[in-house]
Subunit: 340 residues, 2 copies
């Protein structure tokens, strides 16, 4: 019987996840029952939100149970099908998790047309991260031509799309990223107006220089020192879509940020809007997202970069790196070949 491989949650991390919080297991590749399909994972998507699923604090989603398979979106091939809606060889978007094979009833699977774009983009710029950028920026941030949009993790899957969409809408895009290479890419390749290094000790002063007319939209996906630098620069009526706080995911103790004492007063006097969201809140926008983003992608206005780790065994290391910005572009794990 063929063997599959999966990564399960061995223990709930305290602070930074460590290798022993994960366990790699072998298991017998299951056989699909009536109406079911067997999925073979090609691409595994690693995303910061998974850190939240490893903890059992209150959140919008249930945590992964101890000994449960780590959750994830995947690009998978239908390896066997007892479901008339899917044929062997179909490429589908699934939430199969950190494993080589999974059984599905077919529900929630979406077919991917390899002719439109590379299939890996279905978990990247044309998938969840792209839609996070699209909806958070356009539906909450609502950038107007001439306004200034700031986003951190600007070379990452979400941040890179945020800045490029801002530019498409006629706004000034200022990115923040970790290190010179990423900044050069964000400015040189992605066409942001500016990109600053978050490790720069003068980040606050440089950000002020890069945003001479203040900040109208800050797409929050990191928190920490970046929001501290952004906060005093927010203009009247600025919008802050809050999509993630990666700088805090490993916090073991909650600390009052420097901006805390003056936050609500600024909200009032500047009439700020601070609004959290999860991509699924905007499910109704999926059609608009696919139409616009596919078009921009085809027109070359929406570039993307992938950071590929080879082999499911390396997924834990890749994920721990992702939380520290070790990736340069959308973090993927190549679990299997495009065609078996």
């Amino acid at each position: 019987m063929p063997q599959g491989k999966r990564v399960v949650l061995a223990s709930r991390p305290v602070g930074e996840p460590k290798p022993t919080d994960f366990r790699i297991e072998e298991y017998a590749v299951p056989t699909p029952g009536a109406g079911e399909v067997l999925l073979r994972t090609i691409w595994l998507s690693l995303d910061p939100y998974m850190r939240g699923r490893m903890s059992d604090g209150p959140s919008y989603a249930q945590p992964v149970p101890i000994n449960g398979v780590m959750e994830a979106g995947t690009v998978s091939e239908v390896a066997a099908s007892n479901n008339p809606a899917f044929a062997k060889g179909d490429i589908v978007l699934s939430r199969a998790g950190w494993q080589t094979h999974a059984i599905s009833s077919g529900q929630g699977l979406a077919k991917i047309d390899p002719k439109i774009a590379p299939i890996s983009t279905a978990v990247g710029v044309l998938g969840m991260p792209g839609m996070t950028a699209y909806t958070g920026l356009l539906d909450i941030g609502k950038p107007q031509a001439g306004e200034t949009v700031v986003v951190a993790a600007a070379s990452g899957a979400v941040g890179s799309a945020v800045g490029q969409i801002a530019r498409i809408k006629g706004a000034r895009a200022v990115g923040i990223a970790g290190g010179k290479d990423k900044c050069d890419y964000v400015k040189g390749e992605l066409g942001f107006d500016e990109c600053l290094d978050h490790r720069d000790p003068n980040l606050a002063a440089k950000l002020k220089e890069a945003c001479p007319k203040g900040i109208d939209v800050y797409f929050e996906n990191v928190g920490g020192a970046v929001f501290e630098a952004v906060f005093p620069l927010l203009n009247a009526f600025a919008r802050v879509p809050v999509c993630g706080l990666i700088a805090h995911y490993n916090d073991t103790q909650a600390v009052a940020p420097k901006w805390a004492p003056s936050l609500m007063r600024a909200v009032l006097t500047k009439r700020l809007t601070i609004r959290g969201f999860i991509v699924s809140d905007f499910a109704a926008r999926h059609g608009d997202f696919l139409r616009d983003m596919s078009q921009w992608f085809r027109e070359g206005k929406l570039k993307h970069k992938e950071f590929v780790t080879e082999g499911l065994d390396n997924a834990p290391t890749a994920f721990m790196g992702l939380l520290k910005g070790a990736n340069f572009g959308k973090q993927l794990v190549r679990v299997g070949p495009d065609r078996a």
Copy 2:
């Protein structure tokens, strides 16, 4: 030459305003020039936002200059007119400030029809405070039938309208006010579902009890301990219109609130919306406001209470009291009789 009286800002308060921060002056009642009208103040409206105008920190409005007349909305009578749009004896809404008489070009004056409602309501439930409640609650808070709305200063000009509008929209209204008398009035007269005393040492526990299904809308006009009690009870997708922070207006030092370390994480995981506003941001809604609120007022669904201080000389004391909740209802100063 007849003498008028005015209250000017003598010095910028540090912390709580004190009597010497104000100065009462006499001045010659001016004569209107070509196209101008002379206004005689009947009602002076005192509102918490005026504390902000006494300071010169960054805000949405210019501060009152030292030796300048304190700003305020008034209900005034046209005492003399060289402007064909206004006749002697007309009652108008004006921003004449803390003084007995003022000259106006006529711009910005709005005629008040004494047949519709008592003229003092033009600076109360049918004026700026009422519109603050209406727009903040309906345009940002968006309460749905069956949801729970919480508002503090619930016997005050804004809070009392917030809770009554929430009830009209089918929501549960929970008020917070200072002391048993105010709470009895809020629940017994205004028809809120519950009202809690903010001085109660068990406020957090009692609020939880009063909101068994959590809080969907918190209309923020106080800050401080009330928001601390509200924060853990906010439901997913809760909305927090931020209209005022009266508990902090006299702060001399900004302190990180207890909720500070977990605010942004809650914004993210609960998808909260926190949005500051000023009534003038919703100027386009003035027609809707007048139509709805006048109708509710006529139908007896919108009650109001006035707290009248007699004489302009007593305005500083009344204002200092307002910041401490000494008023019970909308704070007005009777500056002159309805008819001269």
